[in-house]
Structures are given as structure tokens and as C-alpha cells.
Amino acid sequence: MVIELNGQSKTLDSPTSISDLLAQLNLEAAHVIAELNRTILTADQFGATILQQGDRLELIQFVGGG
């Protein structure tokens, strides 16, 4: 299954939730904002949201800026 993660394709071998993906990427859920197919998810939806073929996922975080 292939999804688009931050504009790049990513292959997932097994059913993967957003929480699973964050764990694979070593990212703390508390510090990441997720937008799935242009809909913003709240952190409590990360565990139950299983990624589907063709999903477009954006993972966003705060960085330094003026």
C-alpha cells in the first residue's frame, strides 16, 4: 500500500495507524500535527486512524520563525 507522506510516496507493508507511523518515524505525537486528505486530525484520533491506499498525509511541526 502506498500513501503520500509530506509530498513523497511511502510504502506501508501492513495496516498502519497514524500512531504506528509516528512511532516508526520516532516522532512524539504531542509535537506533531497531522492533516489527512486536507482534514486536520486531533491527537486522540491518531490511534484509530488506519491509513488507506492513496491517502495524503501531512505531518507538521513547529520550527523557528519570525
Partner: protein, 256 residues
Amino acid sequence: MDTLVIAGRSFRSRLMVGTGKFSSNQAMCAAMESSGCEIVTVALRRVDVNNPQDSMLQHIDPDRYLLLPNTSGARDAEEAVRLARLARAAGCEPWIKLEVTPDPYYLLPDPVETLKAAEILVKDGFTVLPYMPADPVLAKRLEEVGTATVMPLGAPIGTNRGLRTRDHLAIILEQAQVPVVVDAGLGAPSHAAEAMEMGADAVLVNTALADTPNPAAMAAAFAKGVEAGREAYCAGLGAQRVRASASSPLTGFLRD
């Protein structure tokens, strides 16, 4: 006490600090500390999934600083609104520094898209602080749609050139019913002092601190500039004249 009030919230400091371009999180924190600031801006970007970095939020104490996310990178109202909503989803208070800068060379704010986004975000419950060209008419229009401040630029972002927009800033300051925060282009404490002497309610700096050999020391200098300018404004500056006006008595000269 002389406090800055934005959207009903009081601040002691009139210096806001941007967190971009610092050489390290340590340098950023030291500058924030010595600036005495209470509001810090941050940006939103995609996580680099191939090389995830620690979140910078670990370095900013939310009890001490109000996090003011910006919409930098937005080229139109739609992108700005999307970024603002993403920032709110992170659990921040719904304060947003609205920036719409389609021009990559001067990063000048798009007045039409900024006004459009401001209207949408205010209706959506955001406290909106819009970065804007120093246009007095636009300042009124933004105020009318309910922005919490206006943030006219002194000079293009990161240029350190000071108050190149001085005459228009003076009109904005004369007419504004919301706090005026001079943002962008301030490069020296004297620039900050000048803005405050003119009656600005606050200033925001980033490059002027981050892109110097000792950001913490420069932040302390800016804090003094802001304070001096504010005190001078409150005290009331003397009138300017063309002709000399003697400070010493014009009588008792040692001459016939």
C-alpha cells in the same frame, strides 16, 4: 503600570521575539531570556521524515511565553487559513501572526489576501495579528474586520534597515484604535527606540538578534531601546524647530 494589552491580555514587555535563524536552540533561549519578551513567534513546516528533528517546543516554556504561530510561507489567503488552523490543532491558544507573502524577493505582504484571510480567521475565532505593508488605509480595513493589532513593516523582513516607512507609520499610529506592532526590518536598538518614541505599542524582531555574533547581548540592548523609546513617548518629546532656541540665558553676555 504601563502594560501592553492585546485582545484583553496584558503584557509587561513591548518587545516580541521571532525564533528563526538562531544558530542553536541554546542561543535562541538565551536571547528570549535577556530580551524579557513574553510573546515569541514560531513557524509551521513539514516534518523532515527522513531526518526528524526534536520539536522546538521542548525549549519554550508555555507558562512563560505566549506562542504566536505565524503563517509564513503562505502565498494566499487559503494557505494562510490552512496554516492557522493547523497551528490551532497543535493545542496553541488561537493567536496567529498572519503573514501572506507571495513575493519571494522582498517578502512583502499581499494586502488583498491578508485582508481576506484576516476576515476568515477573525470569524473563525482567532486573535489575528496581521503583518502588513505600512498602509494606513489597509490598517483601518484590518481593524474593521476585527484584527487584534496591526503589524506594519519598517523595512522588508531580515533587511535590518530600520523605519523606511516612517511617514506612513506615523499616520497609522495617529489613526489606529488597536495596538500597532512594528514588525520587520528593524536592525538596531535605535530603530526599535525610534518606533517606540513615535508611539508604537510594541516591536517584533528576529533577524536583528539571531543573525549577530551574540544574540543574547543584542536582545538585552533591544530591550533597553524599546524601554527608552516607550518612556520617551510617555514623557512626551519636545517639539522640533527649524531655528535654534538657546538653552542658555540670552542676557548677561560679557560684551558691550
